[in-house]
């Protein structure tokens, strides 16, 4: 079994969100980068669990990015995974990223492609579906459970107000959601091993972006909280009805 796990680098959750160049670029000045949590906790950890259940499994990691993404992909290698591939290009939009990943996936003929359900910076939830389409493979999004039985997978996916259980034959592309697995902390052995694991750099294929960011903006500041006395809860209910008009 060969699994490809897509890893993206995102600003740390607590990073200050600010923009430069007339609000056209994200200010990366003091940003600390992390592995996108959905990629790490759900996609990567589930792949590692599958490898633990079947030692013949091979896990490759792929990221699309400039050399500054190497630190992130090494961290992902420290958690598990056998080999990493970095496609040497800055990402432009979801489609260009998906095109690069699809190319890597084609070259490696993987049984499974795992991604996080979305990145926490652009919140697109797009790359998985695009990769699947470019590979003409089935796609299961927002998976909360994934079990393998030979070459058939049983996957639970989120739907509005519930879940759906489905069966699919490999190969398949799956975007991973909460429930798939639980966050792990890399140990010293993993960190040491990651140093010697191969990190291949491949050059991008030609693609064109379909979208471009014109401008960023910040939401208007909140007016401040209106506190109601704990002994007067009825007043809160009155405010919600008459002032905020939400109940």
């Amino acid at each position: 079994m060969k699994i490809l796990v897509c890893i993206s680098k995102t600003p740390d959750t607590t990073a200050k969100i600010a923009f430069t160049d007339n609000n056209t670029k994200f200010d990366t000045g003091s940003v600390q980068w992390i592995i996108n949590p959905n990629d790490e906790y759900y996609a990567l950890v589930r792949a590692i669990e599958l490898k633990e259940a079947d030692a013949s499994t091979v896990i490759h990691l792929v990221t699309v990015g400039a050399p500054d993404a190497d630190a992130i992909i090494r961290k992902a290698l420290a958690l598990g995974g056998d080999e990493a591939i970095r496609v040497n290009t800055e990402s432009q939009d979801s489609f260009t990223i998906a095109s690069q990943i699809a190319e890597v996936a084609k070259q490696g003929s993987y049984d499974l492609v795992f991604l996080g359900k979305e990145t926490i910076d652009y919140n697109g939830s797009c790359v998985g579906g695009m990769v699947a389409e470019l590979l003409d493979l089935p796609y299961i999004s927002l998976a909360t459970k994934f079990e393998l039985n030979g070459t058939t997978a049983t996957v639970t996916r989120e739907i509005e107000g519930g879940e759906e259980i489905c069966e699919v034959s490999l190969p398949v592309v799956v975007s991973c959601n909460k429930g798939m697995a639980e966050q792990r902390i890399p140990n010293m052995r993993g960190i040491m091993a990651a140093r010697t694991k191969p990190l291949k750099v491949v050059e991008p294929v030609a693609t064109e972006a379909l979208t471009s960011i014109a401008e960023f903006s910040l939401p208007p500041a909140k007016a401040g909280v209106k506190l109601v006395d704990a002994d007067n809860v009825a007043e809160l209910v009155r405010l919600l009805r008459e002032e905020a008009k939400v109940i």
Binding site: F95, D121, G129, I165, K178, A230, A234
Partner: protein, 318 residues
């Protein structure tokens, strides 16, 4: 022409999020001076011509048993044919669970630029720029779509449903439909509850509730308000509540009209999933809890005393 994908729930009804997409698509069509039409793939129990009241003139319906259950691969291929046959230049989805799977596939298939998670109508006076929420609700981006066919998927609850009058002509669309490769074997619905993503009011509990055995007082309030239930991450991690109720950066992102956070500190990762809520109410015994900074209304107090009074006061309204 603006083509709107109408998503059908398991019970055969049009999803609420699709009614938002219909209203949005119809208003966009008006703005562009073109027609709005809908497309339905799954078997619907509703009278589709009645969807005309949301502003669509025509509904393309594909009748094929293979479309009963959603399969993103099959759906994308059929939708591509619908776009071609109808001559649509803009396709609108809801950014709901199905939309998240099929819109990107259609985008890659047609090489049509997609903005996922739109929160407003596009600016079309000079180009085509769609505003979307980024950085987990901490900012917005205006994204230009530069391709001839454009795809937008609208965030649930970001656009108000508007009903007018009118009926739509329902026409059958002939399309090649593949057999699905994903076989749905079971659908489990949480019965009697309001789906979180669609809920207009959400009542949410954190570690302050101390344990799963105390959730009854929160459920009482949710029932009175006809609200969906949510929780913070440690609550789901400790298995006090199911994973699908976990909201925040690594859980679900929601944007209800009213979010009531009880016994939740308001860490930035939690806020990332709820900061698009229109009105936020916080109940916390710690006056210094960070959530008060993001709240519109708050009560500093012990939730075990405040909640029953809250529920009682809501009951009094009726």
């Amino acid at each position: 022409m603006v083509l709107i994908f109408i998503d059908i729930a398991e019970d055969g009804n049009v999803k609420k999020s699709s009614l938002e997409a219909l209203t949005y698509g119809a208003q966009l069509a008006k703005q562009l001076g073109v027609e709005a039409q809908g497309v339905v793939l799954a078997p619907a129990t509703e009278d589709l011509s009645a969807l005309g009241k949301y502003g669509v003139s025509k509904i393309h319906q594909v009748k094929n048993d293979s479309l009963k259950y959603f399969d993103a691969q099959v759906y994308a291929k059929v939708l591509a044919q619908a776009v071609e046959q109808s001559g649509a230049t803009v396709v609108v989805f809801s950014n709901n669970t199905d939309g998240k799977a099929v819109a990107p596939r259609l985008s890659a298939r047609l090489k049509a630029g997609l903005v996922a998670g739109a929160v407003a109508l596009p600016e079309t006076s000079n180009g085509f720029a769609v505003k979307k929420s980024v950085f987990s609700g901490k900012a917005f981006a205006n994204v230009n779509i530069t391709t001839p066919v454009k795809i937008i998927s609208l965030n649930p609850n970001a656009f108000k449903i508007e009903e007018g009058t009118g009926t739509a002509e329902v026409v059958e669309l002939n399309a090649t439909v593949d057999a699905p490769k994903v076989k749905v074997t079971a659908v489990k619905k949480q019965s009697g509850e309001v789906p979180l993503a669609e809920a207009e009011i959400v009542v949410s509990g954190g570690r302050g509730l101390k344990g799963p055995e105390n959730w009854g007082i929160l459920e009482d309030l949710a029932r009175e308000l006809h609200a969906g239930l949510a929780c913070s991450r440690p609550v789901a991690d400790a298995h006090w509540r199911p994973h699908n109720e976990h909201v925040g950066q690594t859980g679900g992102a929601i944007a209800p009209n009213l979010y009531i956070a009880v016994g939740i500190s308001g860490a930035i990762q939690h806020l990332a999933g709820v900061n698009r809520s229109k009105v936020i109410v916080v109940i916390n015994k710690d006056a210094e809890a960070p959530f008060f900074k993001a709240a519109d209304y708050g009560i500093v107090g012990d939730l075990f005393e405040v909640l029953p009074k809250f529920t009682e006061a809501v009951k009094q309204l009726k």
